[in-house]
Amino acid sequence: MKIDQIKFKEKAQTASELAIFGSILIFVLGMIVNQTVGFSYSQNHYLRAMRLAMKMSYLYSEGLVEGSGDGVASRNNATVLLIEDRLTVDSGKYGAVDRAPQVINVSASHSREFFKPFENNDEEDAAMMDIFVNGKHFPLTTGRFKRVCLAETKEKCRYNDDRTPDGWDEWSPNSWDSQCADVSRATFAYFLGAWYCAYDSTPYTIGCKNLYSVVVNHPNSEDWCDGTESNPCVNNLGKDERFDLDRDFDRSPTGTADSDVPEDPSDPQVDAIRQQFSWQWFRVKGINLLETSKNPDDRCRPIVTLGLGEEGMIFDSGLKIDAKNIMVDVDGDLKEEMIVKNSDNDSNAVMNNVTVWDSQDGDMDLTIGDQEVDAQGTEKVHPGFTQDLAMYTRVKSPDIEEPGSGTYLRIEQGKVCKASGDKQCYRSVQKNDHVDIVERVLQLSNNTNRFCKVIIDEEKKEVSLDNDPLPAKVDGLTNPVEVCCDSELCEPGGVSDPGEGGTCFDEENIDKTCMFVGTWYDDPVTHEQKFFPPTIFIRSRIKDLHGRMWVTDTSEDPYVEFK
């Protein structure tokens, strides 16, 4: 009896070991397939993004895109952000249903236009950034040309539409220096058969604008000083003014510096902060020295003598003479702009207006740092994708009288949905959750009127859509934005409820890429009206072809109705 029992156990052991081994092996194989498919997705995404960046750089450098002429420098260093929502690897009841974002940022360069000069109004040569979201292409600018008035008062500006920093009254009270420089005017005089420059015997004092540039806080920098005995800051800005990062000395009526980088010689740790700080302010006078007599091309120009330690700038429109001090803050935003044109200077070479390239005035301000605040202490709005991501699914209406109708429902995972207020819940337990729309929110820094045309009234603090606000093309490409909305209505598309206005979340617009053009709001800190920049709600309509491996028509099968 015992021998028979032992034999029976040996036979059962082999089968049970095979079953355990087989299940473990299948599990491991499934994990291998899962991981490898993920690697394949990532590799494919990375290689496609690289090719796309190289292709973008090549197309624009060679002039193969509409509006790029014989080649432009906008994509000399093409930066591409590629986002795609791919199905995850899953083997559920209906196959893969979840989507995971594949995000990668790459850059590539084609050298054909590397040495093309960047001149005034060369919008097509300005650096651009390209974002691709599920096939939708968003070309974004990183700056803009603008003309800034440097005259003493607004009335003295040559052009009425010159930009000034957020209203003339807010221009820094200490920005105009009435004791800027001494000038000896020159006049042509004919003496003994030759023409000479005759200069005034007594020079007179002129005023000019104070501009500021950033210099390296290092002894090797020729414009550096630290206020010590060996390097006293007696000329140009004082030691505390150089480290007054928000330039309170420039804004306050008394001209008092509020040093933001502390100094304490008795405390080495505190003192080291200022020593190791990377930069400091340096003052530049708004005089183009190219138009004075100290330049090589002397044509009987005035002799302008600046104060000790003060510097002007040298800007040559023909780009033949090396420029100096052309990276200055002209609009009071505490960041430097690049001067690309200088015109309408007076006879003493005092600059009246300049055209600058402002890297903070494009679709995306990439110069904003973490926790950066504006001059009033309000934290700036950071451009780029926000953390908001939503998925919508379309549910067909069971109404037989209106076939094809339906509504979009937002998919939320996690806690059980609880209906509250206007929120309704719908739980699907039988059908595959068919994701139709993936929504992302792209925050812009400024409204450049490229995607939607608006009218901004800074006096009335209003922003509204222009006539025919939606351009068909942006930079030669189809406009990725499909609807423009302000705080009252949307165009095109109409309004679902004319009495209440249109939004990006109306039934007509929920499945379209919609741009909210921005609005004025009351700042809780300063209680001033500030402009909140525009936002693009990118809606990706993805056709879900997965979810089923075999489809069997069971509509004619008999069924049993249990009661």
């Binding site: 194989l29 490898t36 690697f39 590799q43 494919n44 292709k55 090549y58």
Partner: protein, 93 residues
């Protein structure tokens, strides 16, 4: 008898494992190989050349438009690879 059955099953499992390893490696390696081969492939030397010059100014009056597609654009084609089929037992649709 039972041993024979189990060995057959074990062989089938080993065959499946080998096919999975083959497929995963081929897809990853194949994509990389095709990517580099296409990127560094020779281009048509006549792509984008000028057909007619203005003899006075030296400017090009007519470019070879067909040739441009045979240049770097061919090397930078985005859909350069089709994922390898597993071909474990039956072909996929």
């Amino acid at each position: 008898m039972e041993f024979t059955f189990c060995m057959i099953v074990a062989l089938l499992m080993i065959y499946g494992m080998a096919m999975v390893f083959r497929w995963t490696g081929m897809d990853l390696a194949g994509r990389r190989i095709v990517y580099e081969n296409s990127l560094f492939a020779d281009v048509d030397p006549s792509y984008g050349i000028c057909i007619r010059f203005d003899l006075l100014t030296g400017d090009c009056l007519e470019w070879s438009s067909e040739g441009k597609e045979e240049g770097p654009l061919k090397q930078l084609e985005s859909s350069f690879y089709t994922p390898a089929k597993m071909n474990a037992v039956w072909s996929e649709e």
